[in-house]
Symmetry: C2
Subunit: 310 residues, 2 copies
Amino acid sequence: MTFELTILGSSSAIPTSKRNLTAHVLNVHERFFLIDCGEGTQIQIRKNKIKFGKINHIFISHLHGDHIFGLFGLISTFNLLNRDKDLHIYAHPELEKFLAHHIEYFEKTLSFNLIYHHIKPKVNEVIYEDDKVTIETIPLKHRVPTCGFKFTEKPHLFNLKKNVVQTYQIPISKIQSIKEGADFINEEGEVIPNHKLTLPPYKSRSYAYCTDTAYSEKIVPIIQNVDLLFHEATFAKNMKDQAKKTFHSTSEDAANIAQQANAGKLILGHFSARYKDAQPIVNEARSIFEQTSEAEDGNKYSVDLEREKR
Amino acid sequence: MTFELTILGSSSAIPTSKRNLTAHVLNVHERFFLIDCGEGTQIQIRKNKIKFGKINHIFISHLHGDHIFGLFGLISTFNLLNRDKDLHIYAHPELEKFLAHHIEYFEKTLSFNLIYHHIKPKVNEVIYEDDKVTIETIPLKHRVPTCGFKFTEKPHLFNLKKNVVQTYQIPISKIQSIKEGADFINEEGEVIPNHKLTLPPYKSRSYAYCTDTAYSEKIVPIIQNVDLLFHEATFAKNMKDQAKKTFHSTSEDAANIAQQANAGKLILGHFSARYKDAQPIVNEARSIFEQTSEAEDGNKYSVDLEREKR
């Protein structure tokens, strides 16, 4: 029951020799969600040993080049590999128009269906749902329409304790309702309370991806109590003016959001290429929000399974 | 007086974890010529510590994605860095139309002039010339209009031997003609033959870039005696049929061309991603043409300075 984030690129608009352009992969129970796709993403996917065939859904925060120029090569490679599974892209409607023009010129035909899901960056709404995860948009504040994405694991079921099926002679037909929290009434009419039969369910885990964005408290209620929060910190705190002007965040902005949202862990990234070392930015954030980590290409973050309290 | 090739990417259409997409940089006397620009080229330029500001001329062999998708990010980065020097792109005319559409959408305005030079891939002609180098097209045989590029250093001058100016009382006005090979006649009318005054000039060095292409003997006269020959070997020799079908070359094709051209060294690259190890391909070529080398990302090849014989 994996819930693991891999950072493929942690630079802002200009890559460096150590930081590629923005892209993340979230693995939720072996379903791999690609979030943004800067230049070089397909190479980073390979280097991180993620199978191309497992990527079926791509989420694009906004249409700036450093978040999408990797799509051209990725789609081209999928096509060369004769991919046949549908590929879903969730993005601002304009991407469809732009990509269509591109594909028409360079690919002519595709071996797979490319399915566009037009998102409304200004609205917080569920844009994807399956039996394991719900994905919703987080309206952000940037120079062009931009949204983040929140991934929330579907609630887990209660787990049956060892041997209870035999001990209490539970028929198969009753097991699902017990896993959902019901008590069990046996043939004699005796009520066996759920807590005698089960362990509490694992907590549902969550990840919020917030880039690119200026400081925006409006996102706090949406990302409240998120386990992992990726928030951009393009600039150190002494560049507050530049951050405001370009609709980006500083170390302090990110930390303040994490604190208000009561996040489990804050991951900082999207660092300006001017910073050879991001550690001072991370330290600035840590002075406000201790559980702060520096995104580096290839870093993996997972959330441990922990049981709910009764 | 550098003449050095750097391999930025050595894979064919699909990158691998070790091989990026096609791009080379040739340094001729500290002028850096970028040849093709696959996805990730700007990152490879950084990793190889080549200064962006030194790249003023980009040569594009053909309009397949794996040779040009890096242009979008490179141009974007140049723009973000407020480049002001002109950038010259030598390519099939269609690239201008396509890039213009792209730039209009993603960049709006550029901080520098982008100057297109339309090349005719079917013709062997000089497309660039300065005081150090001449660059000409090499018509290749691929599925779309494609050409390679031959870089030839301008002829060097004779070098004056030590102390000859003093010994023979040569006036400054005569030095240039002596460097060009003339004898010197002193005030007494005595002829001092050039070989007493000079060392022979260094040989002019050359590099030919031939990808993507099927086997084509037509290129042999153009690349005759080239010092460094990069020739694609997408496939091993047992995939001759696939090579023919896709208008690519095998190890043997490349080696046969190198042999007929009497190349100084053959560099093989553009390997299909199916080959985890390119060594067997290189060995196949070596059995025909001994001076064969495997292009790997980051490899550098230079040609030593050697004097002409009198």
